[in-house]
Amino acid sequence: MTSVPTKNVASSAEQGAILFRRRRRNRILGLTLPGSMWLLIFFALPMFFVLRTSFNSFADAQIIQDFTFDNFKLVFSEYLYAKVLLKSLLTGLVVTVICLVLGYPVAHFIARKARGNREILFLGLIIPFWTSLVVRTYAWKILLGTNGVLNYHLMDFGIIDAPLKMLFTTSAVIIGLVHIFLPFMILPLYASIENLDTSLEEAAQDMGATRIQTFMKVVVPLTMPGIATGCMLTFLMTVNSFLTPNILGGPSDAMISNVIQSEFFGTFNWPFGSALSIVFLLFALGFVFVYNQVFDLDSEEDK
């Protein structure tokens, strides 16, 4: 007999808990609604149209409502597109490695050595973002052009006789991309190094490790999350870049985005452009997925 009222009490408490949970869930839903709507309207819907269009066909400069895999077949059968994809990935890799090598010492310096002027150095990192990407990229055009600043001075000093061809080369594209994406490498690296307890580095040295050994065996492994994040950001943004290869590169420097753009607005072949976009998106997703698995980015950080 006594067990009956106890059970009632328990169940009413349970009901309370359920009610509470439901209310909480409603509130969370309410809070995420604007963001979700935004994503739905400006991301999911366009994505859906791109996906739909990629199955249409294109003839006589007309899009025909259709359902065909021809566009995808073309993406994989035409050697040119694989080449562009490969070129984009390679550029991404080169730019990422250069940014890592240039960025790590800077991040380390800001985090460890710069006591009083850390703010100024940060400002230096951020200020370029106040200028449009287009302007910054055109600046390189002025610097590297055949009649540009660099060639002028090199000839002025008599180092070279004829202007060097620097603009519209792969090197120009890489220089421009490194310049633009370096801060995206430095910031996560900085956060990671700043988080690293200095006494860990000192402990390594105390046990006989030189500066380089300390760096390789302690600093690098423990700042891996920053390295991984910085590399991923830089790599993805480089591979996606459109403007820099367009302005600083020659015809053979076109990257994925440039090809997609020319399909959409050059030949107006939207179905094929869409198919290219979809394939590339899947590539990027696959990359992020594998990368996350390897570097375990989503897991809780050790401490």
């Binding site: 000192e202 402990a203 046990m207 065996k217 401490k303």
Partner: protein
């Protein structure tokens, strides 16, 4: 070979206008357990960092095992440091942490394995080699940090408040553990602490530091029984400190006036009349009751406060002229606890009061 493992010669360390360590000199013998004791910010860590090579002295010389360490980097010194917050590497296992220094020195693999296991046994955690640092308790982490330092067989092990993050119970246990380890391996230990009790129970020799200056360096019993300065007397244990100027003296026995009472004291050496001096008398060294009358310093006093603490009874009493003292009486069954307002006789033989140097302001 010398039998001095650590020697500091006129070490000074300044940052800009601020001087953290002022003209410090001391020696630690081989195999000794030396504590640096002092309040927060007195320069203990700075001294340790100069011994281990992380800071360069502004002036002075550090010698380790007889060798001048000037210009030597931390990784070139025969010292190892146990950090305040263990500083174990979170990306390595316990065994890998201990093996770190040996791997750097390219020891053969079997040798590393053997020494790591020996260290794990020394700190009594033989099962934990494969754990990560996160899977250890606070006390276990400190033990592994000690093992990681000792495996390198340093001439001197430096420990910067290694126990301060632990709770009292674990701390006391680790104090015994550290003593045992030091006894077993015989390495010279320099141990930083701001806990006077910890320093007294563990050390062979204690250097009491205040504002970057060594106030006194002596054995724990000397530090407690014969404090040299006002600061040492006050920092280690409880004491009554009476300050005044030397009034008159015949040989080394002198007296001074403090709060209207005359206090007799036995000096170590004769001092001129008018010298400022302090007399320290520990509360538990004061005699209570009628027998006190026969002591050199004898006073009639009124009980102002009685604090019953179980094993001891702590009194605050004040003499007729207004001299206030703390007195601890062991509650040994023979003692009749006095109530507030009662008049009692107190006193102490002249040799129990210790003359101490005072800061003249």
């Amino acid at each position: 070979m010398t039998d001095i493992d650590v020697e500091l010669l006129n070490i000074t360390k300044s940052w800009g206008d601020f001087t953290a360590v002022k003209n410090v000199s001391f020696k630690v013998k081989k195999g000794e357990f030396c504590s640096l004791l002092g309040p927060s910010g007195c320069g203990k860590t700075t001294i340790m960092r100069m011994i281990s090579g992380f800071e360069t002295p502004t002036e002075g010389i550090v010698r380790i095992a007889g060798e001048d360490m000037s210009g030597k980097k931390p990784f070139q010194r025969p010292t190892n440091l146990v950090f305040q917050h263990h500083a174990l590497f979170p990306h390595l296992t316990v065994a890998e942490n201990i093996a770190f220094g040996l791997k750097i020195k390219k020891q053969p693999r079997e040798e590393i394995q053997k020494r790591v296991n020996r260290m794990l046994e020394l700190v009594q955690l033989p099962e934990l080699g494969d754990r990560t640092i996160r899977q250890l308790s606070g006390g276990q982490r400190q033990r592994i940090a000690i093992a990681r330092a000792l495996v390198n067989e340093p001439a001197v092990l430096l420990l910067d408040e290694p126990l301060s993050a632990l709770d009292l119970k674990l701390r006391e246990q680790m104090q015994l553990e550290l003593k045992r380890i030091q006894h077993e391996i015989g390495t010279t230990f320099v141990f930083v602490t701001h806990d006077q009790k910890e320093a007294i129970t563990m050390s062979d020799v204690i250097a009491v530091i205040n504002e970057g200056v060594i106030e006194q360096m002596a054995s724990p019993s000397d530090i407690y029984e014969r404090p040299a300065t006002e600061f040492v007397a006050g920092f280690i244990g409880e004491t009554n400190l009476f300050k005044g100027k030397i009034k008159k003296g015949s040989g080394t026995s002198a007296s001074l006036m403090c709060d209207g009472e005359e206090i007799h004291v036995q000096l170590d050496e004769k001092l001129p009349e008018g010298t400022s001096i302090g007399v320290s008398i520990r509360p538990e060294k004061i005699i209570w009751g009628a027998v006190a009358d026969e002591a050199t310093n004898a006073y009639e006093a009124t009980v102002r406060e009685t604090i019953y603490q179980g094993n001891v009874v702590h009194y605050r009493v004040v003499t007729a002229n207004g001299l206030e003292l703390g007195v601890d009486i062991t509650n040994n069954g023979g003692h009749q606890v006095a109530a507030v307002g009662e008049t009692v006789n107190i006193g102490w033989p002249i040799e129990r009061g210790v003359p101490v140097m005072v800061r003249v302001t």
